[in-house]
């Protein structure tokens, strides 16, 4: 017997911590890392949900989330490189031109 509810709660806490990272950090690299935390938490929640019902589907979803994270990170890091190349900073506020 494993505590499913607590599992979800841990996933929720990790997810929220990821949100904190996105909201606080201005460095794009850290923002991307925080997104990884959030994605990971969502994947964890899926696996726990799959376990609850005794199905492998949760893990299948985890796998696809992994694939998505890989694609996302590769594009994100491409943007990080280009950004640093142009602005010599990763501060997302400093590069902001558009508003209103």
């Amino acid at each position: 017997m494993l505590p499913i509810r607590e599992g979800f709660i841990v996933a929720g806490i990790l997810f929220t911590l990821g949100v904190v990272g996105v909201l606080v950090r201005r460095n794009l690299l850290f923002v991307l890392m925080s997104i990884e935390i959030m994605l990971n938490a969502a994947g964890l929640a899926f696996v726990i949900a799959g376990t609850r019902w005794g199905q492998p589907d949760g893990q299948v979803m985890f796998l696809f989330i992994l694939a998505m994270a890989a694609a996302e990170v590769s594009v994100g890091l491409g943007l990080v490189l280009e950004l640093y190349h142009q602005f010599k900073t990763l501060d997302t506020d400093a590069i902001s031109r558009m508003k209103g």
């Binding site: 949100v19 996105v22 909201l23 606080v24 950090r25 201005r26 923002v31 997302t92 506020d93 902001s96 031109r97 558009m98 508003k99 209103g100």
Partner: protein, 621 residues
């Protein structure tokens, strides 16, 4: 063949669109071919449809062509659908045919004008709108056509917009008819709201089934529709825009402000005749409007010096006859008079256009004269039209149609002796001002030399119309039979005046007018001036000349109080409400745009915050 009905509005519309898009880049000749050709095609189609309709009439006496439903929810199902019965058939055939002749005439008349293609685009659009109005199967399409012709009228009155006067005349027409249109829109909504359908025929059936004779709803609907009709048809009290509308090019005056659009009010009332039959009060109001208008406009026509204004007042007066006919229940007679009027009034305008152009755009009839020899085509055709207008007995179309109206008035339960006598006095006035015009323009000495003679494209249409103005009346018998398939027949009851008596009296009135006119303006030209000399006469002259002071009255009653109210309300109390709304929204805008900081963290915070809020909503519920 009837299936081609949709082409009648579609072809002119396509022509208008074509000219609007590529017109300015085309040569004048190409514009003329497109503009006139489209109307010619529409005319041919409508004639073919007419032939088919007459040779093998549809079983129910009407043909409905539903192309598609535009949008549809519940009972609100406005379709792009056309309804053809004897009434709309006659109107459509006359409108397209007269339009064709006037387009042909215009190709020469407008020659060299910088707005040549613009003119034909407007004219084509007008024909498309007018035909849509006539063929409309439902209220929405009818209203579309109604506003479409109003728009074209506005555009064409102010066609030479560089002259401010023309622009003001256009605005006047637009604003005055708007007053009527508003009443009509309310009336149409009243019908739709109470009877639950947009289709005119269903509406009429439903009105017949659900409303009792004299029911307040029917009276209200009838009066509101009458409001729209008097606006468009320039009847009392909204007639003041039509004389000013003569600022437009003469073909426009002939087509829109004489032959076709101004009779839309007549059509509207004939189309909704069921409502008027259920509301005798409203129908009597129609008759009263008609008789008063025809008398007042007849007097005004006597005093004008501008050739086109004389004709404008005569148009108002003749439409008054049509209203009178509608009012006394002689539906067919009204439409018959519409037809003959379309022929002879278009003819008079076109002929006067020849005169005006021949005399360097001279409009003053007192500076014309002796043109009988100089412009024979104009003279003879104008004479034919004038005789038809005045009602020369037995040989002109106008006599037959007007005589039918007079006889009906005498014998109608709604009419009676008083209205009949009024109509007869109207005949006298008509005869008087018509021959005044003819004698002043074509007889006497030459006062302004002729510089330009019309070509065949101007002369041809005029001659065709002259022929129609003479022979158009001979179809009276079969016309009446045809009309009974669409409109209720005339119920005879009243004085019991026989047709012979009625015709004879009308003939006498005509002759009297002719003789008096001959006496005053040919034999004793000073007499008219002397009549104006003494104070009463001058007052009357001024009174009539200014259209019974209607413009003055409106100026005092509406314009000045409004201007006064606007002046003392410079800082507009009511406007401050709108300013307030604008200020509030602007403040909202400034506040809201502060949320758009462009900061990534802030953007993400909105997503998280939005989730927090939505979660809170579902948790609390």
């Amino acid at each position: 063949m009837l299936g081609l009905l949709w082409l009648v509005p579609a072809i002119p519309f396509a022509g208008a669109l074509w000219l609007a898009v590529v017109g300015p880049r085309l040569r004048e000749r190409a514009v003329a071919v497109i503009g006139t050709g489209s109307i010619a095609a529409a005319t041919i189609v409508s004639l073919l449809i007419g032939a088919q309709f007459l040779s093998s009439p549809p079983a129910s006496g009407a043909y409905t062509q539903t192309l598609w439903t535009w949008v549809g929810v519940g009972t609100f199902q406005p379709g792009i659908a056309f309804y053809l019965d004897a009434l709309s058939l006659v109107m459509v055939v006359v409108v397209t045919f007269v339009s064709f002749l006037i387009h042909l005439y215009s190709t020469e008349f407008m020659h060299g004008d910088e707005g040549y293609s613009r003119f034909f685009a407007y004219m084509n659009l007008f024909v498309a709108s007018m035909v849509t109005l006539l063929l409309a199967d439902n209220l929405l399409l009818l209203y579309l056509g109604w506003e479409g012709v109003g728009l074209c009228s506005y555009l064409l009155i102010g066609f030479w917009y560089k002259d401010t006067v023309n622009g003001i005349a256009g605005q006047k027409a637009f604003i005055v008819t708007r007053a009527g249109d508003t009443a009509m829109a309310v009336g149409l909504y009243l019908l739709f709201h109470n009877l639950g359908t947009l289709r005119i025929q269903d509406l009429m059936q439903a009105a017949h089934d659900h409303w009792a004779v004299g029911s307040p709803l029917a009276v209200a609907a009838g009066l509101l529709l009458l409001g729209g009709a008097v606006g468009k048809s320039a009847q009392l009290p909204l007639q003041t825009w039509l004389p000013d509308a003569m600022a437009g090019p003469t073909p426009t005056s002939a087509l829109i402000h004489a032959a076709t659009m101004v009779t839309a009010g007549v059509y509207l009332i004939a189309r909704t005749h069921v409502v008027y039959e259920l509301a005798p009060a409203a129908q009597f109001a129609v008759a009263m409007v008609g008789i008063l208008t025809l008398l007042m406009a007849g007097c005004s026509a006597l005093t004008q010096w501008d050739i086109k204004r004389v004709l404008a007042y005569s148009t108002i007066s003749q439409i008054g006859y049509m209203f009178l006919a509608l009012g006394v229940g002689a539906w067919g007679a009204a439409i018959f008079h519409f037809m003959t009027h379309a022929f002879f009034k278009a003819l008079l305008f076109l002929a006067s256009g020849i005169v005006i152009e021949a005399l360097h755009h001279e409009h003053n009839i007192f500076r014309m004269g002796g043109l009988r020899k100089e412009l024979p085509v104009a003279f003879w055709t104008f004479l034919a039209g004038g005789c038809a207008l005045a009602g020369l007995p037995l040989i002109t179309a106008g006599f037959y149609s007007k005589d039918l109206i007079l006889w009906s008035t005498a014998n109608s339960p709604i009419g009676g002796a008083l209205l009949w006598v009024g109509g007869l006095i109207g005949v006298l006035f008509t005869s008087l001002y018509t021959f005044r015009l003819i004698f002043l323009v074509f007889f006497g000495d030459v006062k302004t030399p002729v510089s330009h003679r019309p070509g065949m494209t101007m002369g041809g249409p005029v001659m065709v119309l002259a022929a129609l103005a003479i022979i158009g009346g001979f179809v009276k018998g079969s016309f009446e039979t045809l009309m009974t398939t669409a409109l209720p027949p005339f119920h005879e009851a009243g004085l019991g005046v026989s047709e012979l008596v009625s015709s004879t009296v009308a003939g006498v009135a005509f002759a009297l007018g002719l003789v008096v006119a001959w006496y005053i303006w040919v034999l004793h030209p000073a007499l008219a001036d002397q009549a104006v000399e003494f104070s009463g006469g001058r007052l009357l002259h001024r009174f009539w000349f200014s259209d019974w002071g209607m413009d003055w009255l409106y100026d005092r009653l509406l314009v000045r109080p409004l201007v006064w109210a606007a002046t003392i309300n410079k800082n507009d109390v009511i406007d401050s409400i709108y300013d307030g709304i604008a200020a509030v929204t602007t403040t909202f805008y400034r506040a809201a745009s502060l949320t758009e900081t462009g900061k990534l963290r802030w953007h993400a915070a909105w997503i998280a915050g939005g989730t927090v809020v939505t979660l809170a909503i579902v948790m609390l519920l």
